[in-house]
Amino acid sequence: MIGLDVGSTTAKMVKITDGEVIFRITGTHNWKDLIRGIKDDEIISTGYFKNSVPHKATLTEITAARYGVKHYFPYADVIVDIGGQDTKVIDIRKNNFVINDKCSAGTGAFLEFVANYFKIELKDLGLLHSRAKRIPDINNTCGVFAISEMISQLVAGFSKEEVIAGMHYAFARRISFMIPEGETIVLIGGTVKNEGMVSALRDILQKKVLIPREPQIINALGALKYYS
C-alpha cells in the first residue's frame, strides 16, 4: 500500500517498509513515475488531484495532514500546511480548520513572486535572509501591495537580503493571523523548507514550532496511515 499526494506543483509517494518511511518526490507532471508497477487498489490518494489519479480510496489533504503529523508529533496542537496555492491551518484540539485560498499573500506563490522579482531560485531565499543585518518593516498584507512596498524599501537603501527578510516577516505575519491558540505548532508543506520564513514565523509566534524532517511528504504519509 502507498500514499500518493498529487498537489499543484509536486507529487509525493510514501510507503512504509519494516516500520521505515520511504518516500519519493517529483514534479506534478511526472506523477506517473511514482506508481510504476503499483496496482490501483494499493494506492490511497490525496492532494488537489486525488480524484484524477488511480486510487483505492481518497482522503482530503486536511485529514491526511492530521494523520501524517500524528506519526511524528502525537501531541501537536496546530498544523500549518503552507502549499503553493493555499495555506491550511488545522486546529487539532478543536477539530477545526481554516483555508486561505482566496489570496496569494499567505501562500507559497507569494514567495515565488519575490524570488522571481530578484531572479533567484526559491530555495535561495532562506540563505539570503540569514545575511540580513536589518529587517525593514513591510506591513502590507496584500501580496501585490507588499511587492511595491518591497521596491520602496530597496529604493530607500535596504539591501536585497534585508528586503527578502522583511518579506518573510510580512508573509509570516499574514500566516500568524490564521493560527489559533496552542502550544505546539507543526509546519508542513514545501514552503517550510525556507528557513528564513520559518525563523520569521518562530519569532512572531513565540511558540514551540516543529518541522518534520521531510515536511513535503506528510500528507502522503497521512493518507497511508488513515487507511492502515
Binding site: 486536511i62 477545526n96 480548520f97
Partner: protein, 318 residues
C-alpha cells in the same frame, strides 16, 4: 352592473416579509432572492452578491416588479442600501422594520403601514389558506429530518415559502407532488446562517456524505404565520434573525438537539455581518462547526467541496 377588478401587482420582497399580508391585500409576492442562485451575473460594485445582483437586475428591468418591499431594520444593512439604490430606478419601495426587542405592538404598526403601502386587505380568507400551507411545510421539514425527503428537495420547497411562488394554488400542488424516498443518513448536519448562494449545495453535500436535516432561515419561513394582522404581529415579532443573538442561539440549541445533529455548517457571504457571529456560535453551540463563506452564485466551487469533504471525514471519526 360592471365589476372592475384591480390588477394584481407583483410585489418584490427581500426575505422575510410576511407573504400572508401581500396575498391578503390582493397582490402577488415575489422574493427577489430566489432568482439569484441560478443567475450568471457578475455585479459591479458589490459587497454581498445577494443584494448586489437583485439591485442590478431590478435597476436594469431584468426583474420586473411593480413595487418593492425591503426588509431593513433588524436584518441586513446591505439590503437597506441596495434597496435604496434599486428604488432610485423609480419603483415604489417600502422599508420594513422588525423590532429588535420583539415588541408585538411595534410589529403590528409596521404591518399596518405595510398594508397601507399595499392598498388594504381584500382577501382575508387567504390568511387561513396559508396557515394550512405552512402546516404542510412543517410536515415536509419533519419528513426530511426523518430521511423521507431529500435535503435538496426539502430546501427548495421550504425556501419557496417566502413568497409561495406568487401563486397559492400552484404552490399547493407543487408541494403535494413531493415524492417520499428513503435515505440512509449517517452525518446529520444543520445549516445555519444565510442560505447558500450555490444552487446545488444540498445535493453536493449529500453526495459527499453530509445530510442537511435543518435549514435555519427557510425554517423561519414556515414557522411564522397568523390569521390577521394582530396574530401575524405576535408571531413574526419572534423572527429570530431580527432578534438578539442570545435568543437565536437559545432557539438553535433546542432545535439542533431535537434534530439529533452531528455537525453544523455555518454559511454566510463574504462581507456579511453574520460572519461576525461565527465565533459566538463556536463558543455556544456544542457541535463540530464548519464555516463557509460564499461569494458569487452558481455551482458549489471546488474549494468549498474540499471543505465539505474534510468536514465529513472529521465527523466520520468523531
Amino acid at each position: 352592473m360592471q365589476v372592475y377588478l384591480k390588477p394584481v401587482k407583483k410585489i418584490g420582497i427581500t426575505a422575510l416579509v410576511p407573504p400572508e399580508l401581500i396575498f391578503a391585500c390582493g397582490q402577488e409576492p415575489f422574493d427577489v432572492n430566489n432568482v439569484i442562485p441560478a443567475s450568471r451575473s457578475y455585479p459591479v460594485n458589490k459587497l454581498c452578491a445577494w443584494t448586489a445582483i437583485w439591485k442590478e437586475m431590478i435597476t436594469k428591468g431584468e426583474i420586473r416588479i411593480d413595487s418593492f418591499i425591503v426588509v431593513a431594520g433588524g436584518d441586513c444593512h446591505n439590503a437597506l442600501v441596495d434597496g435604496q439604490k434599486a428604488s432610485r430606478s423609480g419603483i415604489p419601495t417600502h422599508f420594513f422594520f422588525y423590532p429588535f426587542d420583539g415588541d408585538p405592538q411595534y410589529m403590528e404598526s409596521e404591518l399596518y403601514d405595510l398594508s397601507y403601502f399595499l392598498g388594504s386587505i381584500q382577501k382575508p380568507e387567504l390568511f387561513k389558506e396559508i396557515i394550512e400551507l405552512k402546516k404542510i411545510g412543517k410536515k415536509i421539514d419533519k419528513k426530511r429530518s426523518a430521511g423521507k425527503i431529500s435535503p435538496g428537495e426539502a430546501f427548495r420547497s421550504l425556501i419557496s415559502f417566502s413568497d409561495l411562488c406568487g401563486d397559492i394554488n400552484k404552490f399547493r400542488k407543487d408541494i403535494a407532488s413531493i415524492k417520499e424516498i428513503k435515505i440512509h443518513m449517517n452525518n446529520r448536519v444543520a445549516m445555519i446562517g444565510v442560505p447558500p448562494i450555490y444552487h446545488d449545495f444540498h445535493e453536493i453535500a449529500q453526495s459527499l456524505g453530509l445530510h442537511i436535516v435543518f435549514d435555519e432561515l427557510p425554517s423561519e419561513f414556515i414557522r411564522h404565520t397568523g390569521k390577521d394582522i394582530k396574530s401575524l404581529a405576535r408571531d413574526y415579532c419572534d423572527y429570530t434573525f431580527a432578534r438578539p443573538l442570545d435568543l437565536r442561539i437559545e432557539f438553535l440549541q433546542k432545535e439542533l438537539e431535537r434534530r439529533k445533529i452531528d455537525g453544523i455548517i455555518h454559511y454566510t457571504q463574504f462581507s456579511c455581518h453574520h460572519m461576525l457571529e461565527d465565533e459566538v456560535f463556536r463558543e455556544e453551540l456544542d457541535f463540530p462547526i464548519l464555516t463557509i463563506q460564499g461569494d458569487l452564485p452558481g455551482k458549489t466551487p471546488q474549494q468549498i467541496k474540499l471543505r465539505l469533504e474534510a468536514f465529513r471525514e472529521m465527523l466520520d471519526r468523531t
